[in-house]
Amino acid sequence: MAATPNVIIDPVTRIEGHLRIQAHAVPDGMGGGTITDPGLSASTMVRGLEKILQGRDPRDAWAFTQRICGVCTVVHGLTSVRAVEHAIGIKVSKNADYIRNMMIGAQYVHDHVMHFYHLHALDWVDVVSAMKANPTRTAALARINNGTYKPNNGALPNAAYFQTVLNKLNNLVSRGQLGLFANGYWGHSAYKLSPEENLLLVSHYLEALAWAREVVKLHSVFGGKDPHPNLVVGGMPCTLSSNTGTINDDKGGTSLNTAGLATIKTAVARMKAFVDQVYLPDVLLVAKRYKEWADFGATAGNFLCYGEFPDPALVKREFTDGAIDYPAGYIIPQGVIWADAPTTLVPFDEKMVTENVAHAWYLGSDTGEHPSVGETELYYDGPLPDQGRNPDGTSKYMLDENARYSWIKSPRYDSQPMEVGPLAHILTMHARGGTANAQPTDKLVRGYVQQFWINPTAQGGLGLTFTQLNSTLGRIFCRVLETKIIADQIAGRAADRTLGTAAYAGWYQLYYNNKAGAYWNPNTFTRLQQPNLWPVQVGFGFTEAPRGALGHWVKLNRVSGLIDNYQCVVASQWNAGPRDLVGAPGPYEEALRGHVLADLKQPLEVLRTIHSFDPCIGCAVHIVDPDGKPLVQVDVNHGVCSTTRVSDMRCAS
């Protein structure tokens, strides 16, 4: 083992799932120190979902995989649905593609806003400092920063509004019940916002709770509830109501009636408004105060995207699969970016994906081969829990970077660890924007990066370099940028003369115009009983989830029609995975190198960088093909890869 870890965060809170971080900092003699080596990222919970999926009805798989994560619920469900549709050769209607775009898009907007305010903001916002704020000055700041934003009570925020927020905080303190705000690193020297800026952000923390409740209504109209809305293989289960659902016509029908469509429209408008008026300006405000964080948290600089959001305008016929049949118009392109050429998009080749369990608690394939070769079984040989502490207060439970230390496997692409997620999305869009295939959204990305990130402060930018996007701050910036792009895709946007982009009606409008069309392919369930019509041996489905590249593979039994094998390769697995066979650290681990901590007992700086990835650990851990049999070869027509074999592209699961 390298130097004994003296920076330990367990549990890492304000994430999805269960994560432990260890690192060693060279002490500075004043209680702080510098992390000079990569850290250690360990997931400490496992459920074994893929094993549970064997022998199930493939139509049910989406419901199981949804429960991989209640935060990423839509994308896991849809990835599964796409995998089964691919396996049995079923195409879906235009409406299904429009609705899927909207549901995934709404998840981006919802997740990213909630991540910033509820999971990440308290790393940058000092709640105790907010209590010293002057409400009148905060109201003035709100007018400058958030302009026309009217909080959920419908009025422009004035001093009285901020006084109410202050009262709430004071109430917590006066009764000595700090609740969720207890034991934060308040007063830490790394907090830099003024009391008024802190109070403004705290008020938006509260507003975002109410806002989030409104935007998920899009999911509940289409899917009946949220989280875990209902989906179906072959299209969407929701369908246009035979009646309007208005007050004098309320018998029967479905949620897609006049009221339901209005609810969606309102949710879409609220998404766009909040992103434009609150989320984007707030991120820029925080970024201005924390510019030095563009120098911390870089990963190795390799990025991967599967691609997402087919352009509905390209979907010309009914019953195609927009996600696979029209990759050219993806909002987020498919491709790879290597560290030595950050503006060049390289085609993605699934043959290059491998998984590695050298440092994960599984038996088998620790030679970095395809996981389809060899055996993979749960195998915990880590330290025992519940042993208490050593007499000197140090922990008896310590994970060793040279042993197995996580329930997450290490996926690799061309043997390299890859970062996935918003930073990868923005970089791939930026790169494609420089090619002949540039999409309008790529131009917007290039324009926004220039305007907000690169332009000098005198012109209202941050005055940072393109290379600095690979950083803790860059990740936060790219997340808000893609949220804006996607919110505008759903809601529509005006033409931008400077950037040369035309006006766009938005997915909601495109769907609305076509709403009387089909929602489900009636051949779907019969096709499950016709294996002779199945085009492939192994179905492959992907989405580009808010946290990055997500793929599911399903192999169906040609006699029973049930699932023989199921694998998932998940975004947070790429980012949060442990070291591989040759000891190369995963992105979380690499990103911690170089961090300077003011106080080793309060590792706020480490938390900032880990949170900038938006960890989703429930997603990252699942398993496995326990029988370990090699998968049958199959042709997959997927995006820029014309033909690849699943046995080759099989990656981590």
């Binding site: 549990p11 919970m45 459920r47 109430n171 019940q177 109410a210 009946g224 042993q387 429930g618």
Partner: protein, 368 residues
């Protein structure tokens, strides 16, 4: 409607109740003023909540008191083998029906003293927090997720402690345990066949550990937001609710979702939807043939509905998958087949309103 209430033909007990009206006491009004919450807005909120909880309206002042007390009841929320869906759902319920001034249960109604996904503290500071809040007594312990049976399996470790030890220690001083979600209530997805990690429900683990404390199961994958917070507020203002044999509050789980479903009419009279997106499905006809598990699933989805009453699964065209029932992932249906699209076997759940086995191989029609 609660099963506690009189049946259709029994009007001897009217749900009317007398009192001095729903007047709030001075302390409550004072608190509302401090919090900047309109008293009338809050009265309306409480009236709706009481109605939802099937409480007499005379209980509104007590609900209001519980919800505005200066010392807020402590809630410790711990997560084990879960997906965070239950918490996401609970976050959606911070107001009873939208609303802004009562925007946050977490600030105004309970003191959420430990919740890993939302709390500011991390690592050692989070662990200290857990130890200090669970050293007090009388808190409500909310748990989501199942827990692996063996402490030394390594399948769940957090803060260097196993799931079993973390749960045991946190349960010690709790006044009430609330298992939120089907994983905590009944084992849920981790326990689905073949249960690779030996996952246990909270009730099972309590039995193993010899913990006897009041437990309420709030099942559902996830549970309805208002049901989660409603149960907690009910307990705080009224004490233990009436529970069914699976320890679920009958006020929410007393009826099947079928009983309050507007598509029920065609279950009895036909026609049935035969395919997604067919004309009958657009008209809102019964989804029985598409595998709806509504007749055997106890929950309030069709009554309370989801996300402020916007919709519920059947309204959005998909059958109920049965997510509030034990082992719903492995439920056997017609021909002993598992699956969300396999119709339930005729005759199952007959006493709950399902027709006899001569029904529903045709176009509907309840001839029993």
């Amino acid at each position: 409607m609660s099963t506690d209430l009189p049946s259709r033909s029994d009007y001897s007990h009217m749900p009317a109740d007398s009192s001095d009206g729903v007047t709030f006491d001075e302390a409550t009004v004072e608190r509302l003023l401090q919090l900047g919450i309109s008293r009338r807005r809050f009265m309306s909120y409480c009236a709706g909540l009481a109605s939802l909880l099937a409480l007499p309206q005379s209980m509104v002042p007590r609900l209001a008191q519980a919800a505005t007390s200066t010392t807020l009841p402590a809630v410790v929320y711990m997560s084990f083998q879960e997906c965070t869906g239950c918490l996401e759902s609970m976050v959606n319920s911070f107001a009873f029906s939208g609303g802004t001034t009562i925007d946050n249960l977490i600030l105004n109604m309970i003191s959420l003293d430990y919740q890993e996904t939302l709390m500011a503290a991390a690592g050692d500071q989070a662990e200290e927090r857990l130890l200090s809040v669970t050293a007090q007594s009388g808190y409500v312990l909310v748990v989501d997720g199942s827990i692996p049976a063996r402490w030394d399996s390594g399948y769940f470790i957090s803060g260097e402690r196993s799931g079993v030890a973390r749960f045991r220690d946190a349960a010690k001083n709790a006044a009430l345990l609330v298992a939120v979600g089907t994983c905590a209530s009944f084992g849920g997805l981790p326990k689905a066949d073949p249960n690779p990690t030996d996952a246990l429900s909270i009730g099972e683990l309590m039995a193993d550990l010899g913990i006897s404390k009041p437990l309420i199961n709030v099942s559902g994958c996830p549970p309805i937001p208002e049901v989660i917070t409603g149960v907690i507020l009910y307990y705080l203002s009224q004490g233990m609710p009436t529970l069914d044999s699976l320890r679920r509050p009958t006020v929410f789980y007393g009826d099947t979702v079928h009983e309050d479903c507007y598509r029920k009419e065609s279950f009895e009279e036909g026609p049935l939807a035969r395919a997604f997106d067919d004309p009958n499905s657009r008209k809102g006809k019964c989804l029985y043939m598409l595998g709806c598990k509504g007749p055997v699933t106890h929950n309030a989805c069709s009554r309370v509905r989801w996300n402020q009453g916007i919709s519920f699964p059947m309204m959005s065209g998909h059958g109920c998958i049965g997510c509030a029932e034990p082992d719903f992932w492995d439920r056997l249906n017609r021909n002993n087949e598992k699956g969300f699209y396999i119709p339930i076997a005729a005759g199952s759940g007959h006493s709950r309103g399902l027709p006899c086995d001569t029904c529903h191989d045709d176009n509907g029609g309840d001839d029993d």
